[in-house]
Symmetry: C2
Subunit: 219 residues, 2 copies
DNA sequence: TCATACAGTTGACAGCGTCATCTGAACCGG
DNA sequence: CCGGTTCAGATGACGCTGTCAACTGTATGA
């Protein structure tokens, strides 16, 4: 049965978890538009104002969901990289497919993962307001999601380095990563017509892996 | 000075144009969230209900904006393809950069261009409602945007075929297109850290062009 | 000339994110 | 054990949104 909640910290942590789970579920079902703070609260057993005790707002909540997902993907790629039963090519193919599979199985989540970072452009005027706000809660901070996404990229980079050599790893790593992202994105948006192009996302991944494998051998 | 509007059709057409222009401008400024039917109407000199005479709703309006943009990009690539002063490689590089430049200069528009197509997944239940609705107005119909996007892809495919041969054109064309889309997307979202990867989007494009040029030569 | 079609206006509604305010119970120093 | 404090959560309110039904006035076409 359910553990009895005694301390306030435990109860708050449980609410936070429930909010994140509810948000992730609603995101899967109907995209960011369907993630209503009212509905999230209801599914977590609280009311519409409660999420503001754990996140600075809706954006912050979605960012936290993205951060957890990045961590999960990072773990997955880490497991691939350190699996001694896999060849270097298999590791690379697995990492690329891991990303594309998220696009396939959780398209709405995938789009949130690659949301535009808030403080990218030269907007510094009201940027300070946003930044200060999001510093209120350490979670939902874009920096948290950024760190998690970068860990994934680091793991990925190591896999590429083992295959194509340290020299080419960064350039070709970026090429592979962006290409996989593009494959996932166009498959997701429906702009990759497999009939028109006589090819599939999986075949494109194979070609990418083969190309980098060749680079590694001839270097 | 301004031409006097007499006929009702002219007036309506002018309003439609103004609505599209206002929507495109607001999209550039603040993304889809900033495209308010009230503000669009205000900038077009009408009120909030007027857009419903020309589009079935906000989604339909944004789809029409995307369709016009796809047509513009298609024209641009067509001009590249038929320019006798350019080499095949230059045509390919230009086409890829044309797409990436949209991502750079109009990031919000770019995301709308690659919006998920409505009728992709197996949702047929309420899908009929949506479809019948969007058939009311021939514009804003997703099919219009799809046709425009496909014309761009056809032009692009021809450029690749001239460089890599008919045999490889489709497979490598898809690879190039998805890769360019991924480069644009990750640069746009801020996930392509040029310091970390020791490379830039432009260098990645050059590598892609070189790879396909090699394929064309060795075939 | 007169009925009609139709672009555009207006009022209304439900739902949204967000904030200020309030409440009650867990906490903690004495 | 007790009384003040902190803080998770509830609640009311506000402005904004997309959407639709009902309405208005004018150009159209027979």
């Amino acid at each position: 049965m359910m553990e009895v909640m005694t301390t306030r910290a435990e109860s708050a942590a449980a609410t936070r978890r429930a909010l994140l789970d509810a948000a992730a579920e609603l995101l899967d079902l109907g995209g960011p538009e369907a993630v209503t703070l009212r509905e999230v609260g209801a599914r977590a057993g609280v009311t519409r104002g409660a999420p503001y005790r754990h996140f600075t707002g809706k954006d912050s909540l979605l960012t936290a969901v993205a951060a957890e997902s990045w961590e999960r993907i990072g773990d997955q790629v880490h497991a691939l990289r350190t699996d001694p039963s896999l060849s270097a090519s298999e590791k690379l193919r697995g990492a690329l497919r891991a990303l594309i599979d998220v696009g396939r199985n959780q398209p709405h989540l995938y789009q949130v993962l690659f949301r535009r970072r808030a403080n990218l452009p030269g907007q510094l005027g009201d940027g300070m307001d946003r930044i200060r706000r999001q510093l209120c809660g350490p979670e939902g901070d874009p920096a948290v999601a950024d760190r998690a996404a970068e860990r994934f990229q680091d793991e990925f980079l190591d896999i590429v380095a083992a295959l194509a050599g340290e020299r080419n790893a960064r350039h070709y790593g970026a090429l592979l990563l962006t290409s996989a992202h593009g494959i996932a994105g166009m498959e997701l948006s429906g702009h990759l017509d497999t009939d028109k192009w006589h090819t599939t996302a999986d075949e494109l991944v194979d070609t990418l892996v083969r190309m980098v494998t060749d680079v590694g051998e001839t270097t």
